[in-house]
Symmetry: C2
Subunit: 337 residues, 2 copies
């Protein structure tokens, strides 16, 4: 038989692949209050999940330790040999240089500044590692398996304590010159503050429709009124009350929806994206979705933005991390061929 | 990028390239008041230019006739054999599907609706033709030879009667799902109208800092005052007066610069572009540039947008058209290999 010169070359001398033809990856979602880790096979099927609190977590070293604990737990839980791990990827809540694996800064995990997080992960887990901004990862997750599956022109808008967007244009993730693309929490629209924002402070848009901003709106709506509702409701609870007829809550919902509609419209006139996917704790609120759609409907020039909620919900970032780990594993294998 | 739902146009047989190893291309800038045409060699060197008024031009047929006249004139003027023409490209002032060569609509050339302009050009000139939105072409020109040479992440902002942007992200032009990316004249910022815009009417941002908007600001600043300045100044004249100390003009300049700064800032928080290039009749105003920079300087979170004026000036669109014609000629040659 003629020798086939196009036969695939032997795979990298990964000690692992011989014993484990089916490898695994780890995806990590580092949040302000929780860290979630998932173990998946190379098809992207999640085999096990693990979570822990990050409320008392601060230094990168502590995060790496928590990850180590979680990873060990996941391999035991899934009864998968530890040696089958091919790559790992993590999402961080802050401006992140995915190329260099650096987390520049994050307001949630105090004291992080130019942390070479990908390298720390590689040292700890002995496999190729990648790191990316958490909202960009969520967009990657939605693009892979969620509401924007295969859509090359969409915006994932995360509404929670903070507000940020993960943007796909021409089939690619938009990172921006300083890796700060999608920091739309700073946008100014009619109804937000026009004042410049000081370093470390919430942006103009966040101040009105981020978690704390909506809480403040609620307090203002209640103050000096006969409204006997509890004062310490979160945004989702306020919007749910609005949906059941509370007129004070409805005024907060309507105002929030209008501000959100302006932000979506402004992004839309820049990018003409085909789809806006709302995610994050507040973004998943159905009353907010409905109220925002109602306002946006009038803003149909030059093109009407289409608005839906995330299909992956709180798993969007985790699934994006798994996708990035799979990409990392593949590009590592290719580079060794 | 949007999926091309139109069948690819059959390119005409290029009888010419065999006889003329050194070929030529034609770039066309169709404006609301003028049409400008340039003949260039395959290095992009402009050999001759021609211009005519479009004030009385309406139908696509009239435009094609004017182009035919101009092209004949240019070949005679440059003493170049007509048979050396390889490709032609035109910029149109309206939403344009560059893939299918369709001009959807333009508010300047009345009655244009889904005009297959690339096909009309090919029929008239017997060479491959391309068409693109004029502001996107200007961005292409700046990217090729102007202020954003080789910069893959920048925004060209055209300020004139209307306002629109040509956007590069990850080294590619952003067209958007309905080819309406960059229609930032519709943006809402503090100080613009919040009301939805009716079809065919100027956008919120345009209404304040487009040519007519600035004219109206000037009238308001003059009304009921002792200001003896002429009422019918254009924006550039008003801004020049502001620079020489007229306080009424300065109030118009300051307000316009603030609104422009908000728009630039909002685009910047979406894309984190490295550079904003101001072009168009109003965008080239140095007093406007300086006043806008001064305001923007305070808006440095999360990243300070860098603002300059166009190096190509009124030639940006024409040079972009030449670049597109060269691309068209090259891709046609490649497809025949």
């Amino acid at each position: 038989m003629a020798k086939n010169k196009f036969a695939p070359r032997t795979s990298p001398p990964s000690r692992r692949s011989h014993n484990n033809p089916v490898g695994h990856v780890i995806g990590i979602d580092i949040g302000a209050t929780n860290m979630r880790i998932a173990l998946a096979d190379t098809n992207g099927t999640v085999l096990a999940k693990w979570a822990t609190s990050t409320k008392r977590t601060s230094s990168p070293k502590m995060v790496i330790q928590q990850i180590g604990t979680g990873v060990n737990h996941l391999f035991r839980q899934a009864s998968v040999p530890r040696g089958s791990l091919l790559a790992v990827a993590a999402g961080a809540p802050g401006i992140t240089d995915g190329d260099a694996g650096l987390v520049f800064a994050t307001s949630f995990l105090k004291g992080w500044k130019n942390v070479p997080f990908a390298r720390l992960l590689e040292s700890a887990l002995h496999v190729p590692a990648a790191v990316e901004n958490d909202v960009k990862l969520a967009a990657l997750g939605e693009h892979w398996l969620g509401s924007a599956r295969g859509n090359g022109n969409f915006v994932f808008l995360a509404l929670g304590t903070g507000i940020a967007a993960g943007i796909f244009v021409n089939g690619q993730l938009v990172r921006g010159t300083n890796y700060a693309a999608g920091e739309v929490g700073y946008m100014v629209v009619p109804g937000t503050s026009e004042a410049p924002v000081k370093h470390g402070m919430p942006g103009s848009l966040e101040s009105v429709i981020g978690g704390d901003g909506i809480g403040k709106q609620w307090l203002r709506a209640c103050n000096g009124t006969q409204n006997s509702q509890p004062r310490d409701l979160n945004a989702t609870e306020i919007f749910a009350r609005a949906a059941s007829g509370d007129r004070f809550a409805k005024s907060v919902l309507d105002h929030s929806a209008r501000i959100l509609a302006y932000a979506v419209y402004n992004i839309s006139v820049v990018l003409n994206s085909s789809l806006f996917v709302l995610g994050g704790g507040i973004g998943m609120s159905v009353p907010l979705l409905k109220a925002t759609r109602k306002i946006l409907k009038q803003y149909d020039e030059p093109a009407l933005p289409k608005l839906i909620t995330s299909r992956l919900g709180q798993d969007a970032q985790l699934m994006g991390a798994i996708r990035l780990a799979l990409d990392q594993s593949e590009s590592h294998a290719n580079s060794r061929r």
